[in-house]
């Protein structure tokens, strides 16, 4: 354990560049997840059976497949199929589309938490379906959706290690720890600092989400 400090001071560049890759992966994936997730959620609540079915199919398949398998499909699978896809692109597609299924479910349950009476009331007042969604339902649903989306960002930070550790091989924090371990054979210390790196991202995020949960708590 006397090597605990030298391991971080000698390999700071490895860990810091790993941290940057993790953040980059999570950042791009989050944008993908929000865009696709909102689209799928609107499919699931749209008044059209076919769209409902497509949305449901998307959610059930991407939510129940292991992220590792998805990473292989989006990298090696796509390359063999003749789509030359970069590392960061395939990584953020896998992580983003996987998380999008959860985002869609969070948005959907936020919308369905707004009582049905409000939709009926606004429709009978002469609002169109689009206006009802935009002006009545979504502003209220937004409040309930924030804490679960915060939780999903935490899950994304942890899941980014799976994407990077798969066949895609991005040099994130965890891969940095494996590199340091293979150079120094200080397994405990190398993984300890990787763990610290992840906790520096996830613990503050957890605290923020808990605060938001109490602030946006909706009493119904």
């Amino acid at each position: 354990m006397d090597r605990i400090l030298p391991i971080i001071t000698n390999n700071l560049d490895v860990y810091l560049s790993g941290l940057l890759v993790t953040l980059q992966l999570v950042g791009i994936s989050f944008v993908v997840a929000m865009v696709v997730g909102t689209l799928i959620a609107s499919f699931r609540i749209a008044p059209a059976k076919l769209l409902n079915w497509i949305g449901g199919f998307y959610v059930e398949s991407f939510r129940n497949i292991p992220l590792l398998v998805l990473s292989i499909i989006f990298s090696a699978g796509f390359i063999r199929a003749g789509f030359p896809i970069g590392k960061m692109a395939s990584g953020s597609a896998a992580l983003g589309l996987y998380t999008a299924a959860y985002i869609a479910e969070a948005i959907r349950s936020g919308v369905s938490a707004v009582s049905k009476g409000q939709i009926e009331a606004s429709l009978s007042l002469g609002f169109t379906y689009g206006q009802t969604m935009r002006q009545i339902i979504l502003p209220q649903a937004f409040r309930t959706v924030i804490p679960p989306i915060g939780n999903l960002i935490i899950a994304m930070i942890k899941n980014s290690a799976i994407v990077a550790g798969s066949i895609i091989a991005l040099d994130d924090i965890l891969q940095g720890a494996r590199l340091v371990n293979s150079r120094t054979f200080a397994t405990n210390e190398a993984f300890f600092w990787a763990g610290v790196g992840y906790l520096l991202l996830t613990i503050p995020a957890t605290i923020i989400v808990r605060r938001l949960e109490t602030r946006y708590a909706v009493k119904r």
Binding site: E60, S61, R63, N64, I65, P66, L67, L68, V69, L70, I72, I73, A76, G77, F78, R80, A81, G82, Y102, E105, A106, P148, N151, L152, I154, A155, I157, K158, N159, S160, A161, I162, G165, L174, A177, R178, N181, T187, N188, F191, A194, G195, Y198, L199, T202, I203, T206, R220
Partner: protein, 269 residues
Amino acid sequence: MGYLFDPANWEWIFAGRNFMFLLERFLNNIVIALIVMALSLILGLVIALLRISKNKVTSTATGIWIDIWRNLPVLLIILYFGLALPQEVKEFWVDIAPSFLPEQIRNSGQVVASIIALTIYNSAVIAEIFRAGIHSLERGQGEAAAALGLPYWKAMRIVILPQGLRRMVPATVGQLITLTKDTSLVSILAIQELVSAGSIVNNTSGSPFGGTGVPAPILQVYIVVGGMFVAFNLALSLLSRRLEVRERKRAGDVETITGLEDQVGIKTV
């Protein structure tokens, strides 16, 4: 699209034992998931009881333990134990593993590393589910039990836990889905399971030496592998939904515990 749906790229499924081979290896994932779940339920209950203990030091220390493991990537924990677990422990597993387990599970020392890693992670999540279940009852029922003169542990044992445990059944089944997906990660420790089996099929099926002679493209192989996980997990989530509905019928509009990608929440109906 032509490549994806080209029948020639799907022939491998019916060639030789490819499909059966994948199914057999999926059994290893399920066995690991069930072992880990059984251990996590026991350990999770102990951790949850320590977490809600009246002793401030115990509950804070347990809270830190839970938060640390829950907030680490599970892959990091698996890799760490795979590298750091002493060789003697791994050999000990190969010696004592019961014979009814699949062969690849019995003969791999890394299996014990992956079971330890997944159990540490999952028991922290399960403990949070238990705590939410107990917490949702504590105020009314706990006070009623105390007013009736029941001591703390007795109230816990005969009033709180039986009801709390029932409320967390759907969330536990939900966590089993996440766990089943996480068992795919043990392939990184060179344990024989479905994901590594996919790569074996991809590498050998097209080979004229011992293979079936029908090439198995990686995209199609992993779509089938993913499909197996999806089918199994869909069955579990149907079960979870059924249990939730039944619980609501039995107890009226109660708060149910929900699990979403390792995050625990209370859903008020």
